[in-house]
């Protein structure tokens, strides 16, 4: 019987490797307005009690947030993200707990669940600073709503750029459009066939002309 070889426990025993990546790790995002080094950012996150919460509906209330976020621990405060000009909620907030553990449990259990039918995203944050409650997009809201191309009912409809475009289109159309009084009959197939369409004595019902056919 051989005795097990002595093993250098410091190398493999203590490394943090896991097969399944843990959910209570911060993302790689770093706030570009953060005043400090990358190292400081990391040490701040390692003991933070604050979470950034994104992808909220503009209509989600603090009490709804309180209800779901208190599942991970006692909440110290909630700071709603506001559009810079209108001072209305613009779809993000900061949740501050009393302990770092609560923030981690929130990352594990609450991040990625739904609130108000939207999947909320949380990330560890070094802590709230005055001014950070405001959106940083050009229009005052969040940057992501500046360029958003899809319509999102929970976040004010179109993205700001797109909303402007849509608004401009509406304005142009209103200016130039004139409603028609008589609806044209449209050319019959027989006449149409002279320019290369299918020749045939079959009647026009083969071509779907919608309402005209019914008249």
């Amino acid at each position: 019987m051989a005795s097990a070889a002595p093993f250098d426990s410091t190398s493999v025993l203590s490394d943090q490797f896991t097969i399944v990546p843990r959910l209570d790790r911060p993302s790689t995002y770093k706030d570009h307005q953060y005043n400090g080094t990358v190292e400081q950012w990391k040490t701040d996150l390692a003991k933070t009690t604050t979470l950034y919460v994104g992808n909220l509906s503009f209509y989600t209330t603090e009490e709804q947030l309180y209800e779901i976020f208190s599942k991970a621990g006692e909440i110290k405060r909630i700071i709603m993200g506001l559009a810079r000009h209108q001072k209305t909620p613009c779809g993000f907030c900061f949740v501050e707990y009393y302990t770092h553990e609560s923030a981690l449990e929130c990352m594990k259990y609450v991040n990625g669940t739904k609130l108000d039918d939207r999947i909320i995203r949380t990330d560890l944050d070094p802590g709230f600073k005055e001014g950070r409650q405001f959106g940083r997009g050009r229009s005052g809201g969040q940057v992501r709503d500046e360029y958003r191309q899809e319509y999102d009912e929970g976040r004010g409809g179109w993205g700001h750029m797109r909303a402007k475009q849509e608004e401009e289109r509406r304005r142009q159309q209103e200016e130039s459009y004139e409603a028609i009084a008589t609806i044209p009959a449209g050319a019959e197939l027989k006449i149409n066939s002279r320019i290369g369409g299918p020749v045939g004595s079959r009647n026009t019902s083969a071509v779907d002309d919608g309402d005209k056919e019914m008249q």
Binding site: M1, F17, I19, Y66, K71, E74, T113
Partner: protein
């Protein structure tokens, strides 16, 4: 593992040649690793953890790199060759044995050859992957113990390294009191005996360490305690897998161990005969209540079957000849942790029987549920991957052990009486954890969001399974523990809010006609209130069918400001208007106080005390109104007027008055009531004892069924406990700082300061501990008094008794700290028998 198809056809001996050149093996593997690495560090998921698909918003300017930041392997063009090989090696180890396929034998053989060859070059990768496979993929323990055995048979030195590492991990887990990992690791070591990697005597001595505190010393009977139960549970779990090898190689030792275990289990059963404090279902057969006794039954059944476990594929049986030539390793002795608190021991959890299952399959059922439970526990760090892995566990089952449902199948069509159905086994384990008493290993929310992930993974199947299980539990609402009913309600509200509030509401519509405080009705009503908190009233109302009118509030939650349209005399209106104007106009605390003094000074017809009380009510109502818009407004209002509120809360009676005014103000909004009370305690306007007094107001008789009173009580006691723990931490830190300063001769001044702060912290801690004692004793006194009073209806009393049990077992540490005081209360001549029994039970529980 789909490389089985390619390696599978080769003759076993040829494996070695195939991998002589690593390049060939690598190429072989590369193709399939190009897909989604399921277990690797890099995750192909978006910021919400969803699998990345080609969605347009993935190309946004604000798009972040993948979680973890490690981009795709081909990014940047230049490969780190060795890193690549290591990723593949790691992936091979992780994937081996995902399925019980005919090629598993060949796969294991081939993999052991690869590992043996490359071990020296990639030692760290191999070892740490191996370590994590044992810890994180516990249901594949038969595969990994076989792999370890093969490695050992091929190269004794490599085998020695693996065994030594895992033994180190075990020692560390033991020192930390990480019992879940200890259990999983001991199972691995038990199976190593089969592969001749360790001797049977080594396993026997490991088990002996666990049984040391339990064993019969000098004829004295073993002491039944939380720590001993935990140790015996670990030993029994180990025997389940090691019994076979021990029977062959050390039958006498096996018998001796079994005798110790049996003696302890019968002592334990005796001591807990009448203990129903942690019983989830009071209508269940007694079998479920004592998990140790049940596990012993399982062990006996397995022993009768020659210690053969037929539920899971055991690949080591196919390598008997190789193992016969292997060399065994000796291991240093284990040590049990010396200074763990009683609460730091693992409470063996029973698996609740929530759906029917064939009785003759009970052993297989236990084995599978045990694996499911270990997986849920070990993968708590990532519920999404945990859900995915859970759905794979049945892959290693032998044929005909359990059925797996298909999407086409209606959940009711599953034949639960005649065969095990995997999804139902899993749901039972999940709910067993959720409802575990006195408390589960993790927060309730873990089991909620895990269920959400499971349903997302298998929407058609698990929606029906969860619904069926919840309906079964609710059907037994009459006999379920009150706290468990509360937990299920919380679970259900969050769960269905993740799926658009879809539920078979019509099925429960008849509950609306049940008596007001029937458990079923209360459950449904409270669940709906929670759902409304997560959403809003109109949305929920629109979704509910007929029959629910009496179960949801008619109006959206709102405040109940006293000084509005109500008939008010002229002078009250004057004060109220002045206060309202002042607070709305951002008036200062001094201005508000001045208004109160000025106006009430004119009320010469009422005495000082009454005037003070009127002014207090006026102030509190207006501050709360100022803060009634949102949670943040409330914080601001209380924060700003804190000095005035504190000034008016100068006596216990005054503080109770503030709490009662708050309750009245938020009569129609229990959530805001709970939040406001919480914050008033935080800002020290009222103290925890005030909250206890307010909750046990005799006016609340007849409504003990409401969940939010107890939510408030729990919040308050938890807060007090948290303060004590934090102060203890601060005291330790202050002491450490002071002693460090004293070592430093130059910092004489600093040392003095450090000393002073120690005294300060000590004094505060003393106060806090006193506060903690007051809260626990006061709450217990109220409970006992109401339960003995004879003034409660039978059902109201049942609700209150349920909450008393919850209180005792949740705060058993604090209860036992004050056992003497409480005993004199509980054993007062007028106290009732069930109260005494509950107290005796909590004593047994915390032994």
């Amino acid at each position: 593992m789909d490389f089985s198809g390619r390696l599978g056809g080769r003759p076993r001996g040829g494996g070695r040649r195939d991998v002589d050149e690593f390049g060939r093996e690598r190429r072989l593997v590369a193709g399939r690793l190009g897909g989604r690495p399921r277990g690797g560090g890099r995750r192909d998921v978006d910021e919400f953890g969803r699998e990345r698909r080609s969605r347009p918003h993935n190309r946004k300017p604000y798009e972040r790199p993948t979680r973890g930041g490690r981009g795709g392997p081909s990014r940047g063009g230049q490969h780190d060759e060795s890193k690549d090989i290591e990723t593949r090696l790691s992936s091979l180890i992780i994937k081996v044995g995902d399925k019980n396929t005919p090629t598993l034998q060949n796969n294991l053989e081939a993999l052991s050859v690869v590992l043996e060859k490359d071990y020296v070059k990639h030692e760290t990768t191999v070892l740490r992957t191996f370590r994590q496979c044992i810890l994180e993929l516990p249901w594949k323990v038969t595969v990994y113990s076989t792999l370890a055995g093969l490695l050992n048979a091929k190269n004794n030195e490599t085998g020695s390294k693996v065994v030594a590492l895992m033994h180190g991990v075990l020692r560390e887990a033991l020192a930390k009191g990480d019992w879940a990992s200890v259990k999983v690791l001991m199972r691995f070591f038990a199976l190593l005996v089969n592969t001749n990697t360790i001797a049977a005597s080594t396993l026997v001595s490991m088990i002996g360490t666990f049984l040391q505190p339990v064993a019969d010393i000098d004829g004295a009977a073993p002491v039944v305690s939380a720590s001993n139960s935990c140790l015996v549970f670990v030993v029994m779990s180990t025997l389940l897998w090691g019994g076979r090898a021990l029977q062959d190689r050390a039958p006498e030792d096996l018998e001796r161990i079994l005798a110790v275990v049996e003696q302890y289990v019968s002592k334990h059963a005796e001591a807990n005969q009448s203990n129903n404090l942690t019983t989830v279902f009071h209508d269940a057969p007694p079998k479920g209540a004592n998990v140790l006794a049940y596990l012993l039954e399982v062990l006996r059944a397995v022993a009768e079957n020659g210690w053969r476990i037929d539920a899971i594929f055991a690949p080591y049986e196919m390598f008997a000849s190789e193992f016969a030539q292997a060399k065994q390793h000796e291991l240093p002795a284990l040590a049990l942790p010396a200074d763990l608190a009683p609460g730091a021991y693992y409470t063996p959890s029973e698996f609740l029987q929530l759906v029917p299952s064939p009785a003759e399959q009970s052993v297989r059922k236990y084995i599978l549920q045990d694996f499911i439970a270990d997986t849920i526990t070990q993968l708590e760090g990532n519920r999404k991957d945990c859900a995915k892995y859970l759905m794979q566990i049945h892959g290693l089952c032998n044929e005909d052990v359990c059925n797996v449902m298909t999407a086409m199948q209606h959940p009711d069509d599953a034949d639960l009486e005649s065969s095990l159905v995997f999804e139902y086994l899993m749901a039972e384990v999940l709910f067993s954890f959720l409802l575990q008493l006195p408390e589960g290993l993790y927060r309730e929310m873990y089991y909620t969001s895990l269920a959400v992930e499971l349903r997302k993974a298998e929407p058609q199947i698990l929606a029906g399974v969860f619904e069926a299980v919840v309906e079964n539990v609710v059907a037994r609402a009459q006999s379920i523990d009150v706290e468990c009913l509360n937990r299920l309600s919380n679970w259900l509200a969050v769960y269905i809010s993740n799926f658009g509030f879809q539920w078979d509401w019509a099925k429960w519509s008849s509950i609306g006609s049940e008596p007001e405080d029937s458990p079923k009705r209360c459950f449904l009503q409270e669940t709906l209130l929670k759902i409304i908190r997560l959403s809003y009233l109109d949305r929920i109302k629109d979704m509910l069918p007929d029959g629910y009118e009496s179960l949801v509030p008619a109006k959206a939650p709102s405040h109940n400001f006293k000084f509005t349209v109500q008939a008010m005399d002229e002078r009250t209106r004057e004060v109220s208007v002045a206060m309202g104007r002042c607070l709305k106009g951002k008036g200062t605390v001094e201005q508000a106080l001045e208004i109160l003094t000025e106006h009430y000074a004119r009320w010469t017809d009422v005495d000082d005390e009454a005037r003070q009380s009127l002014a207090r009510e006026m102030l509190v109502e207006h501050v709360l109104l100022l803060g009634s818009k949102t949670f943040s407004h409330m914080l601001n209002a209380i924060e700003k007027f804190m000095p005035a509120l504190q000034q008016f809360g100068d006596t216990p009676e005054a503080r109770l008055h503030i709490a009662k005014v708050t309750e009245d103000f938020w009569l129609k909004n229990p959530q805001f009531f709970a939040i406001t009370i919480d914050k008033l305690v935080n800002y020290r306007v009222i103290d925890p004892i005030t909250v206890v007094e307010m909750l046990f107001d005799p006016a609340h008789m007849g409504t003990w069924n409401r969940f939010y009173y107890w939510e408030i009580l729990r919040n308050t006691v938890n807060k007090v406990n948290m303060r004590v723990v934090q102060l203890q931490g601060r005291l330790e830190a202050a002491r450490a700082a002071a002693s460090a300063m004293q070592d430093d001769a130059d910092a004489a001044n600093g040392s003095e300061q450090g000393h002073e702060s120690i005294e300060q912290v000590e004094a505060t801690l003393g106060q806090m501990v006193q506060e903690q004692r007051d809260v626990v004793v006061s709450a217990a006194r109220h409970f006992v008094r109401f339960l003995a009073s004879g003034e409660l209806s039978e059902s109201d009393r049942a609700w209150l008794l349920g909450r008393f049990k919850e209180f005792l077992r949740s705060y058993r540490a604090q209860v036992m700290d004050n056992a003497e005081t409480l005993e004199s209360l509980v054993f007062a001549p007028d106290a009732s028998d069930d109260v005494r029994l509950a107290f005796d039970n909590v004593r047994a529980l915390s032994a």
